[in-house]
């Protein structure tokens, strides 16, 4: 069965027209001298799902060689700082805890261990599809005293367990975690907590623009982050840096269309913030999701792997929801820990290096034995390179 709103966006005939049009425009740019002979047009996709889609559909291979696609800091697991990974591992070791997480985090190496190793050592760590499931696990482990009179079950007590969720992800994920906290709060589920390593996208774009070496000529903006933020979410960053920016969907035609729009902006010399994913993204975004996110969380400074400290780029629980803060609950503190020596994840996330330029790529570091998170997550650049380039 053809999938609705999918197969139309994979039409090879239409793809050809877009590719031809991109080629023509790039040639025009070169012959007009607006791009110097050897200079490449550096376009960065800021979403792990785009990275995967670009590889899966072989988009790099059909573009003129003067267009360079860079994978930016858009893979949630990859941007998570080492100290947050260590905090998740520490939380899993607490007495009576069930740690719940998205699957991608399991293999990420912390300083001394990983969640996968801890699970093998007998810790109760469960992979969930949605934070929703984590709340239900908490509800089922609240510990009830049963006063029923049946002979065998009289006065039985199920011991309560603390359920902790590892909060990673961008604007798309944070509202789901906020909604789960509201739900737990309403239902009086007090054995549920999270550690928030959530991140905001626009401050990361600003940080990239503040790093001159990145030389970014255009952003392919993340489709599903934009579903939440709307076009307006990028307005401040765009107004400040005036770098061509187009919101893109995830099918091949969506990505080609966004690239064509970015190249067209180069030709006109007029950078713009445009929406190439109108079927899912509106000007204002998902107002309800933003409101729920802002009810529970507030922006705070945050550390990104390899990039470092970015002001107001993370989301922490507001004071009124601090009872859901796992670190507070277990009296733990975040400790600064160094990132794995030799891992170039940080430079890769900023478009300064490609995975093949990392000394460990394919040697010490493989998906089976990852050194850094970019080789772990299916959305990570190193994992995508390894999988689709066969080394």
């Amino acid at each position: 069965m053809a999938l609705k709103y999918v197969s139309e966006y994979r039409d090879s005939q239409l793809a050809k027209v877009l590719i031809e049009s991109i080629k023509e425009k790039i040639e025009a740019l070169h012959s007009s001298g607006s791009i110097k002979a050897k200079k490449r047009l550096r376009l960065m996709e800021v979403c792990g799902t785009h990275t995967m889609s670009i590889f899966r559909h072989g988009i790099r291979s059909v573009l003129p060689h003067t267009i360079e696609l860079l994978s930016g800091p858009g893979c949630p697991v990859c941007v998570t700082a080492q100290k947050d990974i260590d905090a998740f591992i520490e939380l899993s070791k607490q007495d009576n805890v069930i740690l719940t997480t998205f699957g991608d985090l399991m293999k990420v190496p912390g300083t001394f261990s990983s969640l996968q190793k801890e699970k093998a050592d007998g810790r109760d760590i469960r992979v969930v599809y949605s934070v929703f499931d984590a709340v239900e696990i908490a509800a089922a482990n609240q510990g009830v005293t049963c006063n029923c009179n049946q002979a065998n079950s009289a006065n039985k007590t199920n011991q309560a367990k603390e359920v902790v969720f590892c909060g990673v992800g961008f604007e798309t994920t944070t509202p789901t975690v906020a909604a789960s906290i509201l739900m737990a709060s309403e239902r009086g589920i007090d054995n549920f907590s999270i550690h928030s390593a959530h991140k905001l996208t626009p401050p990361a774009l600003a940080a990239l623009m503040e790093t001159p070496a990145t030389q970014i000529d255009g952003f392919i903006l993340p489709g599903h982050v934009s579903v939440i933020t709307g076009v307006d979410g990028y307005k401040d960053v765009f107004d400040k840096y005036k770098v061509p920016s187009v919101i893109a969907g995830f099918e091949p035609l969506d990505i080609l269309k966004a690239i064509l729009m970015l190249v067209t902006q180069q030709i006109s010399g007029l950078p713009a913030l445009e929406n190439g994913y109108e079927r899912a993204v509106s000007q204002f975004g998902n107002v309800k999701a933003v409101q729920i996110m802002n009810q529970v969380f507030e922006p705070a400074d945050s550390v990104w792997r390899g990039i470092g400290h970015i002001p107001e780029s993370g989301m922490r629980l507001r004071d009124s929801y601090k009872s859901f803060d796992a670190l507070k609950k277990f009296n733990l503190e975040l400790k600064d820990t160094p990132e794995p020596v030799g891992c170039a994840c940080g430079q890769i996330l900023m478009g300064l290096k490609t995975p093949e330029q990392c000394m460990m790529y394919g040697k010490k570091c493989t998906p089976a034995h990852p050194v850094g998170p970019c080789m772990v997550s299916s959305e990570g650049s190193c994992a995508a390179y390894y999988r689709y380039k066969g080394l």
Binding site: L3, T172, T176, K257, E278, A280, E379
Partner: protein
């Protein structure tokens, strides 16, 4: 984590929708999205519906690309001195 494929809403019960993608069904919370109706296509992220597909915009995007295709075909055919009347076989074939 993010399901890029739109899912069709086939059942709604107490703020939870049952959605279908090519025969695979799962639950999606409607806590983050208002006004969802049966038959709508939604984007689901980690168990939550986060956006409704704007069907008019979806059709328009494809139509715009088809217009580009027609234009490209026309140009090629004119250059080759072939009869330039190009008819789109069935613009709505995919819907």
């Amino acid at each position: 984590m993010c399901l890029a494929v739109p899912s069709k809403v086939i059942e709604i019960k107490n703020s939870v929708a049952v959605v279908d993608v090519d025969g695979v069904r799962r639950d999606a919370s409607l806590m983050l999205l208002d006004d969802v109706k049966l038959g709508d296509y939604v984007i689901v992220h980690a168990g939550f519906a986060i956006s409704k597909i704007d069907e008019d915009a979806a059709h328009q995007t494809i139509q715009d690309m088809r217009d580009m295709l027609k234009f490209a075909d026309n140009n090629i055919m004119t250059l080759d001195n072939v009869n330039p009347t190009v008819t789109d076989p069935n613009p709505d074939a995919n819907y």
